[in-house]
């Protein structure tokens, strides 16, 4: 049952219209950070209030929502947000990527390829990719405006100088349609290739920083690099121990006090679906 104390999906219609305008602007200028008047949400900022507001503005009664955190549908954060929209919007929810029309995520892009008509909403803590080296907001805005992105490579240079390679493995900066440099939120760089040419609409919401940005379907997204240190998506040299997948992003899990470890897909829906149709990994239980 929908909680009648709230408007559909919690935010009032006027606020949703304001957010939708910001989203439309973001879609029109891919990768550009659009300021918006972020509202107080009944949850702390660390919980993805930016993503929640974007999702709220996108949801329709007929939508089917999936919420993931680090690839999992069952973490506290994911469960709370899913419940929040079940309660305030009464929409259907799912854990299956393919069934969802709107997916809110923190830290991952689902393994199952997205399709046209789907919306992927990212929770973003720090939208400004230049922030690390240039704390002045007026200056970073100017840099975006004038396409002065040399500084982004200074960051990568520092990485190589210090670690012998580009050590940035999360929130790896990208250039959108040859124009705006964008922070893809703290997804692993493993997911970066999925940003590009994606059939789904990708929306990014930063609550505390009051920014929304977007990648419309089939946008070209290129990870920054050096000619002699090309971008590599990187992948652990293992297969999933539960479903045997060789191409998915894996979490390392400690399984006993003796330091035993296993590697499992971080995308729980992907892993479970594969197991359900008989795929098996190194540590799968014996077949009965």
């Amino acid at each position: 049952m929908t909680d009648q104390a709230y408007n559909f999906a919690y935010l009032d219609e006027q606020t949703k219209r304001m957010i939708r305008r910001a989203i439309l602007k973001g879609v029109a200028v891919p990768g550009y950070q659009v300021p918006f008047a972020s509202r107080e949400m009944p949850m702390p900022y660390g919980w993805g209030t930016g993503g929640v507001q974007v999702t709220s503005a996108c949801l329709m009664p007929e939508d089917c929502l999936k919420v993931i955190d680090q690839g999992a549908d069952d973490t506290t954060n994911a469960v709370s947000i899913r419940k929040f929209f079940q309660r305030t919007a009464g929409v259907q929810v799912t854990e299956a990527t393919a069934e969802a029309s709107v997916i809110q995520t923190r830290h991952r892009i689902p393994e199952t390829p997205l399709r046209e008509g789907q919306i992927l909403v990212y929770q973003v803590p720090i939208p400004e990719p230049l922030r690390f080296l240039e704390p002045r907001e007026t200056e970073t805005r100017k840099m975006h405006e004038l396409e002065e992105y040399g500084l982004m490579h200074v960051k990568l240079y520092e990485d190589i100088a210090r670690h012998g390679q580009i050590a940035t493995s999360y929130a790896y900066p990208v250039k959108v349609e040859g124009r705006y440099v964008m922070d893809p939120s703290p997804i692993p760089k493993f997911d970066n290739p999925k940003l590009s040419d994606n059939a789904a609409l990708q929306l990014f919401g930063a609550g505390r920083e009051q920014r929304i940005y977007a990648l419309p379907p089939y946008t070209q997204v290129v990870s920054l690099d050096f000619d002699d240190h090309p971008f590599e998506a990187g992948k652990a040299p293992h297969d999933c121990d539960l479903c045997g997948a060789g191409e998915s992003y894996l979490d390392e899990v400690i399984v006993d006090d003796a330091g035993g470890r296993m590697f499992v897909c971080s995308d729980t829906d992907f892993c479970a679906s594969r197991q359900a149709v008989g795929h098996r990994g190194r540590l799968s239980p014996e077949e009965v």
């Binding site: 080296l133 040399g150 500084l151 200074v154 240079y157 050096f226 002699d228």
Partner: protein, 275 residues
């Protein structure tokens, strides 16, 4: 070959400005006020390629104001600043901001008095030197590093310090790093505001030596602000003396210092002689 060795002799000499070449920078009637107070007033001069122009004057005489206006950090109230760009002479005041910022990171360089203002303190020495290269499109890490190493050597910073942050450097080293970071892309015009200010006397001398070497070697065109006449004696071809925001005398450095015409310049010169 004979011609080759002859030429190499000339190449070591600093190119002298010729009457026939166009000025690199032409300044006409430049004025900047802070409310009712004059920052600088009606300043006009030409700077020719390969020339070092010293700007001297007591504290508050408008030197920094003038330099900031010329470099586009501040908007003057009146006057023209005509720079000889690749596409011919242009009034920098009529340029769009993107154009001006592009000039600032390609053709121009600005050495701040306080190295901290001109360096990125959170970035390694190599990154500091490499930034301008990357800003103009360098995308080969090993090449950037080689150039940075080379430049650290030219400003007498040991190559093994390349990955250290400037905060681990002495004041003199920071200033030399700032110079390397500015000169790495071979700018056509260098602005320097008291580059030796705030340093120990012995450190100043070494920095001056280094600057003089670079200026000669690269044939740099430089506008250098200082209130140290020893600095201009060593570096500047020509000298401009400011007082109360106005230029009271300008000419060849030796002439102005040896035979000052304006009473204020005479005072300035004699006060130095007393030291």
């Amino acid at each position: 070959m004979m011609e080759g060795s002859d030429l190499s002799i000339f190449a070591k000499k600093k190119p002298q400005p010729m009457a026939s070449t166009a000025p690199l920078l032409r300044v006409e009637g430049l004025t900047k006020r802070y409310g009712a107070r004059i920052g600088c007033a009606d300043v006009s001069f030409d700077l020719y390629p390969g020339e070092v122009l010293g700007i001297v004057g007591e504290s508050g005489s408008g030197k920094s104001t003038l330099l900031s206006c010329l470099a586009g950090h501040m908007a003057p109230d009146a006057g023209r600043v005509i720079f000889d760009t690749a596409e011919g002479p242009r009034d920098t005041r009529e340029m769009s901001e993107p154009e001006r910022r592009r000039l600032a990171r390609t053709d121009w360089a600005y050495v701040h008095q306080n190295a901290r203002d001109g360096l990125r303190m959170g970035v390694s020495a190599g990154g500091n030197v490499g930034e301008r290269l990357m800003a103009v499109g360098a995308r080969h890490y090993a090449d950037i590093r080689t150039t940075a190493t080379d430049w650290l050597g030219r400003v007498e910073i040991a190559p093994e310090r390349i990955d250290d942050r400037p905060s681990a450097f002495s004041g003199g080293m920071q200033q030399r790093l700032q110079i390397a970071r500015n000169l790495v892309t071979g700018p056509r015009l260098v602005f320097m505001d008291e580059p030796t200010g705030g340093l120990d006397v012995s450190v100043q001398a070494r920095l001056l030596d280094l600057l003089r070497g670079l200026v000669r070697e690269m044939g740099l065109s430089v506008l250098i602000v200082t209130h140290d006449l020893a600095v201009v004696r060593l570096l500047a071809d020509r000298l401009m003396v400011m007082k109360g925001g106005r230029v009271v005398e300008q000419g060849l450095t030796d002439q102005v210092l040896d035979d000052p015409q304006h009473a204020y310049t005479q005072l300035l010169v004699s006060s130095v002689l007393q030291v």
